[in-house]
Symmetry: C2
């Protein structure tokens, strides 16, 4: 057997998520009636213009994709209100760019600060570069970042600080003044994950004008409705973008993905409506769950919400399983660092499915 790296022993054998098809078969539910609240997607589907663009590009899929992304960068720059040389495109949603970031700044033994709970992929990726994770605190009760817990953990070895706003899975925002306090306290790169910014209607792009040590990361997997096509982008200063570009994967954004991005950005009405619908459904879910006595639900600025289910008498795993047997997929948050075994995250579905979910949830927890 070939000798593998020591760090792999800290990673578990990969257990694949279960497909809708498998769940439908196991529980005898029709696949199309499954209510999927697990993955923070846009449930209304992609822009019709994106679908058409994919169909129009279908005779080109035997050819390599463009690697320069010049036109896409232009369109994103316009959307994000930056210049083209401040933009980098990644395949695999935002996830590939986390790997490129690690390869751009992390040497063995460096540290990165990450508040917990948050999106788990930062740590998954950065630990692979032999960097050490240092945990800061997300205050669950108040649903806000404990800024001092970040500041107090900055050392000479800190290379990257991750800030997720709105935070996944809690839905709380980090106020810009808190972000600025952190940026000004360090030379490390502050990575601001704005995957869900559209649902919060605020972002931190204005900081790019003033600070050189920030990297804003975003995705086409959420409001843009293209999770299945795996495109992300990052915004930073041109020098840093140039450095990252030297070592990024060259052809990782597929032909259909590139066409769909351009078509979606040109469909402003789609983006606006998708955002509004998600916010409406988020508030519907908040109000509906909030009226259930034995579940605590947190206010959210994203397209998902965190529920504390301990008073139902079920663990998150038990309730997740009960919901699944009724055709509802939610995210059991037990595996998130910083959360115990009683949290579940739900993201918005279309209104009829959200209504049905509330009905099923009540049947389970109110009886």
């Amino acid at each position: 057997m070939v000798k593998t790296r020591a760090i792999l022993e800290e990673y578990k054998t990969y257990v694949p998520g279960r497909s809708k098809k498998e769940i439908a078969e196991e529980y005898g539910v029709a696949e199309e009636s499954i209510i999927k609240l697990g993955s923070n997607e846009n449930p209304w589907g992609p822009s019709p213009k994106a679908k058409q663009a994919i169909i129009d590009s279908i005779d080109e899929i035997n050819r390599y994709p463009e690697s320069n992304h010049e036109y896409i960068k232009e369109q994103i720059a316009k959307y994000a209100n930056v210049t083209k040389d401040q933009v980098i495109i990644g395949g695999d949603g935002a996830d590939e760019l986390f790997e490129v970031l690690a390869k751009t700044v992390i040497d063995e033994g460096d540290e990165f600060i990450v508040h917990q709970p948050t999106y788990t992929y930062y740590e998954y990726t950065f630990k692979q570069s032999n960097a050490k994770a240092v945990y800061a605190t997300w205050n669950i009760e108040e649903n806000k970042l404990d800024v001092d817990s970040v500041l107090n953990n900055i050392t000479d070895k800190t290379k990257v600080i991750f800030l997720c706003t709105p935070n996944n899975p809690t839905g709380g925002l980090i106020p810009q003044e808190d972000i600025v306090r952190i940026i000004e306290a360090t030379d490390a790169l502050v990575v601001i994950d704005e995957a869900y910014w559209e649902f919060s209607e605020v972002n931190n792009v204005n900081l790019l004008k003033k600070y050189n040590n920030i990297f804003i990361i975003r995705t086409f997997s959420k409001v843009m409705g293209l999770a299945g096509l795996r495109i992300g982008y990052g915004l930073s200063n041109p020098d840093f973008i140039e450095k990252m570009s030297r070592i990024k994967p060259v052809f990782s954004v597929t032909v259909p993905s590139q066409k769909a991005v351009i078509a979606t950005l040109n469909d402003e009405e789609f983006i606006k409506e998708s955002t509004e619908k998600a916010i409406t459904e988020r508030e519907y879910l908040y109000e509906s769950v909030n009226s259930i006595d034995n579940i605590h639900i947190y206010k959210s600025k994203s397209n998902y919400l965190l529920m504390d289910v301990r008073k139902t008498g079920y663990t998150a795993a038990e309730l997740t399983s009960k919901l699944m047997s009724r055709g509802v997929i939610v995210r059991d948050c037990t595996s998130f660092v910083g959360l115990d075994e009683y949290y579940i995250r739900i993201s918005v579905e279309t209104h009829p499915k959200n209504e049905k979910f509330i009905e099923i949830l009540k049947e389970i927890v109110e009886n």
Copy 2:
């Protein structure tokens, strides 16, 4: 400015390749008449079944792709004549799997052996993990691997040995007895790149039964006609596959890519015909260029061929530029380690375009 890694200084600022559109505009050539011999693609296009599968999946692109790939692995296992647990799937063609390989076995200061010239991405990726490239020799004149140059470079630090067969860009094969000599001389992982194996009609899958230190890597970008969808796969022993799976990107294969893979593997006639047509056109190109006095062309077992153009009086860069002005894209091989400035690689196009290419080439070099 955030401090970036020292290794980045060994990478050049990325210069994007030029798109067909740009070339068409600059030289006043119609985009559809461009003859693209530069990228070793399948010029006849993807399987019609793959195209239909993409169209059928278009309403699912707002949802995350499946991450388990169980069904795809089954189909690939059948195609490759292995078991499902010997298969790993990667996004970004074969390229993502090179990164996963590096992260699975490379610690700082380890060495990898790579014969030159060959596919440049091995070194591009592995150097990013602070591994040291050790060069072995591909004998250009005889178009074969100098096996001793590999064996003599094996040290205690050797973690990976890359063997590309058929070799890109030369087209020569590595006989299995030579591969076995190398495998038996080392505990390092021997990575056998079979991206183009179908065109050579031989492969090394039988070695998986006997040896644990090999990894065979393949792609859907060549005969399968899906370069624009970025899917690759690897074959090894189940233990090693499990280790790699722990740290690989989770969602990097897009929804359309997954559907297209399955449809293509189910279209055996397409694979067979694409292979046969490519071999026919390769031999046509060989014979045609071989009849040109001042160009030496090497026999190839792949879908591309290497030309030595020094006797034309042009460098590869000059001839590439002259061809481009006539709407022909070829691969100037000057940047390949182990080749001087007089080599050009051409891959097969459809027959009318190959005929046109020969006509244009003759006009340039015979006058």
